[in-house]
Symmetry: D2
Subunit: 155 residues, 4 copies
């Protein structure tokens, strides 16, 4: 398990000057009978990008749920504005780019794109918040907002 | 198979004064580890509403793909603006409401909502277009736009 | 919301002499680029059938999770033997049949089929068990096994 | 895009002595409200393993569909026997192992496992066949069976 293991971290993508980039493969499961990627699947790709961005910054969903940041909580998407510009097809490798655009209280706004090479397929603005296990809005933990605020300022 | 069969059409929801309403059940598959419905699943529910609205108006995806409306084509989502207002949970029955809001050329704008009883969980504006099997934009067939234009005018 | 509401219960299918039958519609989300239903989607259809069978017998997943049957628990699939006999396509209405085949301790074996009219598309044997929130095996609650044992004896 | 690009091929996993190994990450989308990975999602992981195994052997789904191997065709799953031994959770990295076990006519049998470290979570025997776009069984192309037969003999 040498080569794969030594590059183990690569499946989480990489931090970049603007935020984060993740490669995703289009599999059977992502396509529909019209021959291209089913539109809702792009939201999965975007969520993978957000999760891996946080992961490389040291924040895991399980740790959030376990209360390691003050109390148990989870990220939720509050609003999404998304353009489906071009279709993607089976076997293609796409890249998901994530930028922190704005930050306040319990909310983050992320700018995300899905590209095939230099072609932009998807553009999305995503408002994210943190909630308690009962679904109540929670203030973003300092540890989380500090990390993301830097990105927003720098991006 | 009497009772079920006699109500066979019900799984396509019903046409209403404003457009269409469909009931959907939340199953295991729709939830995630945070305990509520995974955000992208609501796009599936919305798509079921749109498909069944067209179905009750006499338009099937297979017929569109087979070229019964002039040439082979399929619906695609071009843009979505979506508010995730409240969470939904396992076992709940939700209703998906679909309204035709505007119509032009190869595009339809639909207003859609997901409710639990009278509570609005999701609000979305969805731009839809028709494309060829190769992904080229196609003009909406008269038969399709005629049906939907009436709704837009009346709604 | 009259007609739909008065038939509200229909989206849970119906109890039959052999167990349970549920109608499911094939939507965009269920298909893949080869033009037919993606194989793993049939497992979703089967799970909907099992859930609605239990539901009509008075057992909800949320109630199980909330500990109304002694302690918090959830159903899990332990083993599945599944034949994919024929493909299904967009817009089709399929029926999911569920039979309780055998019962012991913390386990149920269910026989399930997916049909299009009289044609069998899928046949599956599914071993199900109950576990605690930490994933530990739990004994099937009496209330649950009593209901299902009758089915197994009668079926 | 330097580090990521130079390791671009890694998202397809790697060929091994026994066949193929692929790392997959568990995301929100893969879990359900019981806190663990939804059972049907493992079939997606297995399918990604099979697809990437074929990919690294030079066989792409799009090329198969485009008729580069004699006539247009696609892989389908005919039968699956699957044990769900242990649950997987959010954020975990799993490995999918694929072995060619047997080969005849239009069919391949693959042995697949999903592991977390050395722990086996899932074991599956998967019968795969090739079909025409109309769903008719087709003989496995020589180019495909030659590649896979070697594996079966060697594994």
């Amino acid at each position: 398990m040498n080569r794969l293991t030594s590059n183990y971290h690569l499946i989480s993508g990489e931090l970049t000057g603007f935020g984060h980039r993740l490669l995703v493969r289009v599999y059977f499961e992502d396509t529909d009978f019209s021959g291209v990627v089913y539109h809702a699947r792009f939201l999965h790709f975007l969520e993978r990008g957000r999760s891996d961005f946080l992961r490389l910054k040291g924040i895991g969903h399980q740790e959030l749920a376990d209360g390691l940041y003050g109390e148990p909580m989870a990220f939720v998407v509050r609003h999404m504005d998304i353009d489906f510009l071009r279709p993607a097809r089976i076997d293609e490798v796409l890249s998901v780019e994530t930028r922190t655009a704005l930050l306040g209280g319990a909310r983050i706004v992320l700018h995300q794109r899905v590209l095939r090479g230099d072609e932009i397929l998807i553009e999305a603005k995503v408002k994210v918040a943190v909630i308690s296990p009962e679904g109540k809005p929670r203030r973003m933990p300092e540890a989380v907002s500090a990390i993301l605020a830097v990105e927003a300022a720098g991006g």
